[in-house]
Amino acid sequence: MTNHWVDIKNADVVLVMGGNAAEAHPCGFKWVTEAKAHNKARLIVVDPRFTRTASVADIYAPIRTGTDIVFMGGVVNYLLTNDKIQHEYVHNYTDLSFLVREDFSFQNGIYSGYDADKRSYQRSTWDYELGADGYVKTDPSLANPRCVYQLMKQHYARYTPEMVARVCGTPKDKFLQICEIMASTATPTRAMTIMYALGWTQHSVGSQMIRQGAMVQLLLGNIGVAGGGMNALRGHSNIQGLTDLGLMSDLLPGYLALPPEKMQDFKEYIGSKSFKPLRPNQLSYWQNYDKFFVSLMKTWWGDAATAQNNWAYDYLPKVDKLYDMLHFFELMNQGKITGFICQGFNPLAAAPNKAKLDESLAKLKFLVVMDPLATETSEFWRNFGEHNDVDPSKIQTEVFRLPTNCFAEENGSLTNSSRWLQWHWKGAEPPGDARSDLQIMGGLFTRMRDMYRKDGGAFPDPILNLTWPYAQPDSPAPEELAREYCGKALKDLADPKDPAKVTRKAGEQLAGFAELRNDGSTASGCWIFCGAWGPTGNLMARRDNSDPTGIGQTLNWAYSWPANRRVMYNRASCDPSGKPFNPNRKLIAWNGTAWSGADIPDYKADEDPSLGMGPFIMNAEGVARFFARTFMAEGPFPEHYEPMETPLSNNPLSPGNPQSLNNPAARVFDGDRKTFGKPDKFPHAATTYRLTEHFHYWTKHVRLNAIIQPEQFVEIGEALGQELGIASGDRVKVSSNRGYIDAVAVVTKRLRALQVDGKTLHHVGIPIHWGFKGLAKPGFIANTLTPFVGDANSQTPEFKSFLVKVEKL
């Protein structure tokens, strides 16, 4: 989230789209309930289904799954056409006035630089026009046809209300009603918050869906203000922590990047990440990249990382290709993976195209499952009849099950959607022989290190020289790791303005990432966490929820990265002179010498606003981008592409162009393309989702959850039910081109038939929580149906849009 949970109570308008906040976050949702009850907020829900969130909404509009860019692009068009934008905000804090290169172009769905064979873009034309001074050229009058404002108007001219009705199936009057309510927040004293989740991420164009939402918020001046923001509802209590610590195949902790193979030169790598300011006097905070990177390397390799060896840069593996989940299982399917340590993960159930997963896992030599539960993945080799129709005699994989404890049986921190690191304490002993993940990983590492010491290896240095300073090497403690992530001074640190003064003693925890140095004198395992365990102790454990300003800024409850800042980009809540746009919901303000207020300023604390530094200090431009430059795989403006399995044969936004029917930059493995289905055999649009009674594939093991939602079902609308003669309670078979599931049918008014491109379209809803292990009634794995293809930027699989057929059993 750019804002946080409690801040949602400050919203005047709440848009829940690409997510089902009440269903998936009933506790966090109370802040929406508060906004409605005490702030007269209006709740808008846009979703293929009338969900639990819709049941308490003021207005609900249906939308065809996968068409959110058309809807939100339509909102952009509405706002620009009706001039419902917060002028002072967009003129000063965004790139609307920036000029774009002459050779950047967009033709019928495809941007300049497309290589159809490689299914990717050469992106160098997607950039601003620079002046001789190296700064971006601008036209503050917004008249220049190459300025971002004009290019945006041109781009979104196609996204009319009629187009929204045609492609999304959303009734035009509902769409316009929603636009009006959103537009009411263009004024500085009203704010809209957008709450989204997997309904926007789990698409082949998911990243662009999210960007489209962010663009709407920027036009309305809703970023950086109380009650505003782009607020991702993370799907797991610590998934924010997972991404923060860089547990993606191409990341390092703190959203640093693992260097690509072609960057063997350390200076080149640092240079490529330290963005120089593109406008005068911009902070461009990533210029400090080397401080974060060197501090990370000192954490990992201690004294073995020196200025002479470029801080052990050569110890880091370099990215030759992505090893995201989809690619990893594709490699496994090709027989290229020998072993797989599967930790706290149930891919047989959670990854798309179960048949491919079954095949892939069977090609492993060994599989290690670390989990508190007996998961489907750990028994992928066992026959469970129709639910897992495999022949164990043909499977040679050796499976090791290492039982772990669960989160309540250990100390540690969880990082929530609000970016709050909240420390929790052990509530119970783990059962039987279960061990903590730290114990298991510590044990594996120390044994492997001993083997490397004895037997050598091709290049064992990174393993032998890895710092392992834990009191019990076999069992690192959560507190030790937390302190390590946050970081400490390795030498006495002197004040740069007064070398005689020591600001931090060697060995002391650091108070924040502003203390990090690039000269090897500091260590920090995750720079954005720096300060969470500071010199005064574990700030994550604080539980003071006093809220003196009444706008939910509880600065003494836990620790919010970065720097305990609660609302990101909060400089943008003030006008260019430093005065808050909305005096009733002040976050920070300029008092003549410094910025201060109800939040930690997301800005240089003593920077006079008249010097023109922008609020978006991580961007080289200092302002927010409508024009994404080279940072997105598909293009600088979001453009609608149909899901990989689409009921349409033509993309109405770029008609007649087969290249732009689906995302032209999304990676599709050859074998998977063959498994995509077509609407002639699979006419209905299906989507998978979660129920409030369950969490993924865990809680079917819990009696109480199984009691309140015992058995697999699918949802179809009354119209489709009538067509096929299916009543609630009947059993149905739902198939895609990859397989089938049998389930009970819930026939509901909450799924209405939509009119899409002149034809009637039915959605089929498929909750995911079932499998062949647990206390709930055994069921099929829903991902038997889903396609093995992901977003072009994040590789998140397209679980939310695919094609199926339904038959009565």
Binding site: T692, I707, K777
Partner: protein
Amino acid sequence: MALQSLDIIRRSATTLPEPAIRTGTGDVTVAKLIDTTKCIGCKACQVACMEWNDLRDEIGTNVGAYQNPHDLTASSWTLMRFAEVENTKGDLEWLIRKDGCMHCADPGCLKACPAPGAIVQYANGIVDFHEENCIGCGYCIAGCPFDIPRISRKDHKAYKCTLCSDRVAVGLEPACIKACPTGALVFGTKEDMKLHAADRVEDLKSRGFQNAGLYDPPGVGGTHVMYVLHHADHPHLYSGLIDNPHISNTVRLWKGATKPLALAAMAFAAIAGFFHYIRVGPNETDENDETRAAEEARKLTGPEKRP
């Protein structure tokens, strides 16, 4: 059960007056307010109820609905019921209602129950079952206008929501209230809950729900579980919430007028029988009487003189 430690004002099938010396809290009673307009149907209340009361219902099957289990049972004392209703504007409404005992001020179950002390009503308004006195006859179900109590197959006793009388007795809120994540369930004095509801109704009206209101049915004397409804004029839309609940006339009569009437009839029969006996009984004669009378007469007057 140490009854003197509980502030009981009424017991089933008992005519002995209750202890009345306590001034207690006067007319102040507790109430649970269920705001169907805030409820998201998450079932945290169902789970909390099972956890607090150590109940585990069956893991059943899905019959094509979100409602699970399918009905209240002796082990499911509360249940979320879901109703999909298209309103007059053509928009869909998903009306979700937490079903369970309404804790009536004039409880039909207590009135119908023939087992002394199986059902009690406390001064704070809670209606509680004391199962050690329950004979499993099921009259409470017949007496309840809302069809709430359920007989357990295991021990043949009746069970229902206790409004967490055990928690309330030590100053805690009911388990469902504590668990509700959105604050759709609130608990406090009935007066406070009515005030809270009034604010909610005002908010609902500002959002176009012209007939929003509080469900506190007078037909049962008012209840200690109340609902805020979007459509207070049509309670039945909420999965059959009774529009105008009252104790059925049969129960009223059978446990009401017919009792004293029946007693009176029995008393009358006894008295009438007595009078009948003393007036009519001894004046009827049979053969033995005749023979004995003749014997008596002979003894008195000597042998008969023959003319």
